[in-house]
């Protein structure tokens, strides 16, 4: 049986001035000033180019982006439920496999890209994402991580950091740190259980060339790939709109975010600081951590210290989970 094989080789970008000028995520949307997710969307779309289909599960990048009659997508885009982006993407890819095989559509297999928030990736969307990875569909699943359910009014998600003040984890006398749980690790969830996946990377809006090259590498790979992109959210994290990139950089400098690629079982690091700054430097700029006491910040530092040893090594949570405490 003939198989539609992707032959494209999107070239890597050397310098920021070589970034293509064409936009496939154009102005006209309604995201907040300083929106990290919108910034990465623009970069991802540029990197992917015109032969692309985006699947957009419910989340900020649906609700604030895709308003009727002024959607920002210059390539095909379809809304999916927050639950099922991975499955819908699987169907789109499968359709193109069969349509190309039967000669009903001519051209290179399109880049099928899921643009999911943290909830749509590793919370309610986890099952569909895992199904897509397991079955080996030639599609890229992006988790744009703004570390909360932001469009519904900043509720905790599985990637919301320990100690964050969200509307579901408000600090109070009984629960002084706000969020007591430590986050899931999305790339490790993908790497750990999906042998069909050959390329996984983390990226950040602070490093656009690195981000775009990871998109292109992921799209050049045949089979399912995953990108976890750090996207500061001024509204949810409570910082000034002008500081999105600064916050993103500080995350990397403090070890709160690690930039790496995982390719065929090998890890490679990017923009790894020679010396890490204390997490306090990152946290003090954000209102969501303003209520924390020294002991809480120390717990966060211990968590990050353990995590920095290497990606893929299980991190022991420095505090017992709430159920164990009870």
């Amino acid at each position: 049986m003939a198989v539609a094989v992707k032959t494209q080789n999107l070239p890597l970008i050397k310098k920021i001035r070589n970034i293509p000028k064409e936009e496939y995520y154009v102005p006209g949307h309604r995201t907040c000033a300083g929106c990290g997710p919108a910034l990465q969307y623009k970069l991802v779309a540029k990197a992917a180019g015109p032969n692309t289909i985006f699947l957009g599960p419910t989340g900020c990048m649906y609700v604030a982006n895709a308003s009727y009659l002024c959607t920002p997508y210059a390539v095909p885009w379809m809304h999916t439920q927050i639950t099922n982006a991975g499955a819908v993407a699987s169907g789109v890819e499968a359709a193109y496999q069969v349509l190309i095989r039967k000669g009903k559509w001519e051209g290179e297999l399109p880049n099928v890209i899921v643009m999911a928030g943290d909830g749509g990736s590793v919370d309610i969307g986890l099952q569909a994402m895992s199904g897509m990875m397991y079955r080996g569909h030639d599609a890229l699943f992006i988790c744009y991580d703004n570390e909360a359910y932001a469009n519904t009014g900043i509720q905790t998600s599985p990637t919301t950091p320990y100690g964050a003040n969200t509307t579901f984890t408000p600090p109070g006398p009984a629960i002084p740190e706000g969020k007591k749980l430590f986050p899931k690790d999305p790339p490790q969830l993908v790497i750990g259980g999906h042998p069909a996946v050959k390329y996984v990377a983390t990226a950040s809006v602070a490093y656009p060339v690195d981000l775009m090259n990871k998109v292109r590498k992921a799209l050049n790979v045949q089979g399912p790939t995953f990108l976890h992109i750090h996207c500061p959210c001024p509204k949810g994290w409570k910082f000034e709109e002008s500081k999105t990139v600064e916050i993103a950089k500080l995350a990397i400098q403090t070890g709160m975010w690690i930039l790496y690629e995982w390719e065929n079982g090998e890890y490679k690091y990017q923009h790894k600081p020679k010396e890490y700054k204390p997490v306090r430097e990152y946290m003090k700029l954000q209102g969501r951590f303003a209520h924390l006491q020294e002991a809480h910040i120390a717990k966060m530092q211990a968590f990050v210290d353990a995590k920095l040893k290497a990606p893929g090594i299980p991190v022991e949570i420095p505090v017992p989970p709430p159920r164990a405490q009870a």
Binding site: T52, I53, Y62, A66, M78, A94, A95, K102
Partner: protein, 397 residues
């Protein structure tokens, strides 16, 4: 050459899907519909059917996979039963509202609790108001035919609606019956290749399903409702063509059996129609003037056809194989729609409903005789005493 075979409903549906040249299939196991997927999996493995066979990770994923594939331009099929049908519920409105004409074969199964393999229409009936075309097959032949008819109607650009193509679990899905398999050329003449006005195609970028404001919602609901108003004409065309090409004798919406001089009738859909026909033959031999009216499409509901068919009787017994707990009739849902269809008539028949075959129980001949007795009594008394009769569970009628 067309050939006659003996096939179960599931096997017949699989043959129909193969002849419809379905391109993307998404499976997940649940009894009894699973047999459909097992047949299709064999066809793909044997190279008889060139389709992508995707193992969904659940029914919600099944519907999501075929939504994506259909929106990208492939003819698709999925299916389910019982709690599988309800697990996927979130996807039904987006698929119908997005006007993506996917086909889902439902082989009915009772909903939990507790676990029960038996057939009951409640699974599919619970999803009836999402905008899908919907109807039941009485036997494997009709299951085969309905697959093709629904693709033709649902994919028609004047309609563009997904289709629940239902058959009773076991009674149809697993009991073999005669099926006339047509020539591929007949199917090709009846069913044009699948096209979508605006598929997800990088050569012609479109956005599907952007966020709207509340004031933009009504028009979309109206359009979905309009598609159901436009569908009947397309169904009539399709049935006329189907009858011509395949030599069948279907009525588009309601079929009548022994109704010519009948005073009373059963109103029924699906597998138990077959038993009802036998019961009617027997009752006729005893001089009881009874017939039946079988519903072929539940959605769109053929209001006028139902009214016309039922208005000539003195009493109508609606055979319900689904529940509507706490509903106006205290029984199932069909009587609600039947009564609504009759409301504006100057002369209405007496109507009641019979809860029968719930949990997958057989509806034997004696149950139909019992129902006929109640209808006779209603005519004699000139009134409807009860709107619901739980057949086999009532001390007095």
């Amino acid at each position: 050459m067309a050939k006659e075979m003996v096939l179960s409903g599931c096997a017949a549906s699989a043959q129909a899907a193969k002849m419809a040249k379905v391109e993307v299939i998404c499976s997940y196991p649940i009894r009894p519909y699973t047999a459909l997927m097992m047949e299709l999996a064999k066809m793909v493995a044997n190279g008889e059917l060139d389709a992508e066979f995707i193992y969904g990770e659940g029914e919600h994923a099944q519907l999501s996979v075929v939504l994506g594939a259909s929106a990208a331009g492939a003819r698709v099929l999925t299916g389910s039963s019982g709690v599988g049908v309800t697990y996927a519920f979130e996807t039904y409105s987006p698929i119908a509202g997005g006007r993506v004409p996917v086909q889902m074969m439902i082989a009915d199964r009772a909903l939990d609790p507790p676990g029960d393999f038996g057939s009951e229409h409640t699974d599919a009936m619970s999803c009836r108001d999402q905008g899908w075309l919907m109807g039941w097959a009485e036997n494997p032949q009709e299951a085969f035919d309905n697959c093709l008819i629904n693709y033709r109607v649902g994919e028609d650009h004047r309609v563009l609606l997904p289709q629940f193509v239902c058959q009773d679990g076991y009674f149809v899905s697993h009991i073999p019956g005669k099926v006339l398999l047509p020539d591929q050329s007949q199917v090709d003449e009846f069913l044009p290749p699948y096209t979508l006005p605006h598929p997800l195609d990088p050569k012609h970028p479109v956005s599907h399903g952007p966020q709207i404001r509340p004031d933009q919602g009504t028009i979309m609901d109206l359009q979905r409702a309009q598609a159901h108003l436009d569908a009947p004409a397309v169904i009539k065309e399709a049935i006329a063509d189907f009858n011509r090409i395949f030599g069948r004798d279907y009525s588009p919406f309601v079929e009548e059996y022994m109704t010519d001089d009948a005073e009373m009738a059963f109103f029924i859909m699906g597998a138990h129609t077959m038993t009802a026909r036998h019961a009617i033959k027997h009752l006729r031999s005893k001089g009881v003037k009874i017939g039946l009216v079988k519903l072929r499409f539940l959605r769109p509901w053929p209001t006028q056809e139902v009214a016309e068919a039922l208005s000539k009787f003195k009493a109508v017994g609606v055979v319900e194989t689904s529940t509507s707990y706490g509903g106006a009739m205290r029984g199932g849902n069909l009587l609600h729609e039947v009564r609504a269809s009759l409301y504006d008539l100057p002369q209405r028949p007496l109507t009641t409903s019979f809860m029968a075959g719930l949990g997958g129980e057989m509806v034997p001949l004696k149950d139909f005789y019992y129902m006929a007795e109640i209808l006779s009594k209603m005519i004699k008394e000139g009134k409807t005493k009860k709107t619901v009769h739980w057949v086999g569970f009532e001390a007095e009628a």
